[in-house]
């Protein structure tokens, strides 16, 4: 099973409500997967700054005096702690240096994702507990995706939770299971990608990141995925300004989409969409198999 939700706002007046709308959608999908839950939110970027979302099993010890320790290395960061996660705001040109310093200073800290606008929060447990723990309801943003997991391919851990992020401002959630992920992982490792888990979805995320790094746009990368990924999948993907959906040709994993003048929404089931404003008059449809759908704030503008 697994439950996926996604919301891409066209009407900027809805942006303050993004976290609340997405939280309600995700909690509705709880019975599709009780193992772990996660959410990625694309907020307003700050000029010249980037964000790194980190996670620790021992946040008290790992996050204490972290700003000072980084400052000693001449890395000035702003630290916002939310439960087991924290967001580091860093100079945009210091992301790699900060990540390297974190690996040395705090080996127990895991990077959830980084970029100009993405923040990722994910933990084991039910969606209602995960969104409360990270106060997702109060978050504003332009688009976001969420996932509640019924684990099949790898362990129930924080790192095995979705969304997976393998490139700046990129993330992916998945309902299904891939059958050629081990081979594909080996090929991607040869190309220089690194992996945190044995999870199949992380391979799909890294595959798309590798394609985007080669200059493909999200639509092209998703089209390539249809040729190269074997297995069952409904993917919802986020980039800094874009939002994409693709289903495998068999399309047995459910998907419903809705579009109005104000938003594009995705749900594993229609139930996830019923509380959205104006859903009664939305165009609601089931995405076609092996067909790429994507929306982009920059291309639309």
């Amino acid at each position: 099973m697994c439950g996926i939700v996604g919301l891409f706002l066209k009407d900027r007046s809805l942006e303050p409500q993004l976290g609340a709308l997405l939280s309600d959608m995700l909690v509705t999908m709880t019975d599709r997967g009780p193992d772990s839950a996660g959410i990625a939110i694309y907020g307003a970027p700050s000029r010249g700054k980037a964000k790194i979302t980190i996670q620790s099993a021992t946040p008290g010890a790992d996050f204490a005096r972290l700003e000072g320790a980084l400052a000693e290395l001449d890395l000035r960061v702003g630290l916002t702690v939310k439960s087991t996660h924290a967001v580091l705001e860093v100079e945009a040109d210091k992301v790699d240096e900060t990540r390297a310093a974190l690996a040395r200073l705090r080996p127990g800290v895991r990077i959830m994702g980084s970029g100009d606008s993405i923040e990722i929060y994910k933990e084991t447990g039910l969606p209602k507990d995960v969104v409360a723990r990270f106060d997702v309801r109060s978050m504003a943003g332009t688009h976001g995706i969420g996932h509640t997991r019924m684990a099949t391919e790898s362990a129930v851990t924080t790192l095995g939770a979705h969304p997976f992020s393998t490139g700046a401002d990129q993330c992916l959630v998945h309902n299904g299971s891939l059958s050629n992920h081990n081979n594909l992982r080996r090929e991607l490792v040869r190309e220089g990608m690194t992996f945190e888990t044995q999870n199949d979805t992380e391979v799909a995320a890294a595959y798309l990141s590798a394609k985007l790094a080669k200059g493909e746009d999200l639509g092209q990368a998703l089209t390539s995925a249809l040729d190269d990924l074997d297995g069952f999948f409904t993917f919802v993907v986020g980039t800094k300004s874009g939002f994409g959906v693709v289903r495998d040709p068999i399309a047995c994993k459910p998907a419903v989409m809705a579009e109005t003048d104000r938003y594009v929404a995705f749900g594993s089931e229609y139930r996830a969409l019923v509380s959205l404003p104006g859903i009664e008059d939305a165009r609601v449809w089931e995405p076609e198999p092996a067909t790429v759908y994507f929306w982009d704030h920059e291309k639309a503008a």
């Binding site: 047995c252 459910p254 089931e269 139930r271 996830a272 969409l273 609601v284 449809w285 089931e286 198999p289």
Partner: protein, 228 residues
């Protein structure tokens, strides 16, 4: 007429009330409001009762229906009217995958489009889709009729037994052992009857093509091993 508001009444109360109707003629009609995509709405009806659902439903709506008349004024999720025995189910909007799967009787009318696997393993049900159907529809269909006013997706009627398929638009591809067949007078009259019962107006049976089994696969023959 009982009105059940699923925003306040548990789904099981609705379905229990439907199951408590005594057999025999009755004029009870139920209205269900605020379904909000709920699963298993009006499953297991076994009496001639009318149910009007005002909104869209989730998985398995009207499953196992035996004699009831269920109308969904919205769209339906996967498995609508799964294993219907008799009666009528009408979806005013679209239906998701495997609509009417394994149905043994009755009439399923989908006024919008149906997704993949519509009528999979049908065993006597009649299905009329006003729009298009997705891939692998009528897979292993054994008996009954699937009528499609629009187009059909890939692999229509794969491994078909004796279900009869009528498509007015294009067929993207036929599945293994499914072929176009001659439309004989008895097929035209059956099609006219089904269109009439499904409330289709202004469409003539002559506009359809008939598809059925080539009967090469359903008894195992070693010479056909490559076709499986």
């Amino acid at each position: 007429m009982p009105v059940i508001d699923l925003a306040v009444t548990p789904l099981r109360d609705l379905n229990s009330a439907l199951h408590a109707i005594p057999p025999g003629p009755n004029d009870i009609a139920f209205e269900v409001v605020n379904p909000r995509g709920s699963h298993s709405v009006a499953v297991g009806i076994d009496a001639p009762v009318a149910v009007d659902v005002k909104g869209s439903v989730g998985y398995y709506c009207a499953g196992m229906n035996d004699g009831g008349s269920v109308t969904v004024h919205g769209s339906a999720g996967p498995g609508v009217a799964e294993n219907m025995m008799s009666g009528k189910v009408v979806i005013e909007g679209d239906a998701s995958q495997y609509a009417g799967a394994t149905g043994r009787g009755g009439l399923l009318v989908i006024k919008g489009n149906a997704a993949s696997r519509c009528g999979i393993s049908m065993k006597g049900i009649d299905i009329v889709v006003h729009g298009n159907i997705g891939h692998m529809s009528a897979f292993m269909g054994q008996s009954g009729h699937l009528v499609v006013l629009g187009d059909a997706g890939d692999a229509l009627g794969d491994s078909l037994y004796e279900a009869k398929l009528f498509v007015r638009g294009t067929v993207k591809s036929l599945g293994s052992d499914c072929i176009e067949k001659e439309m004989r007078p008895e097929h035209l009259s059956k099609l006219a009857e089904l269109l009439e019962r499904a409330g289709v107006k202004g469409v003539r049976p002559e506009e359809f093509k008939r598809y059925g089994s080539a009967r090469k696969l359903y008894n195992f023959n070693i010479d056909n091993a490559d076709a499986y």
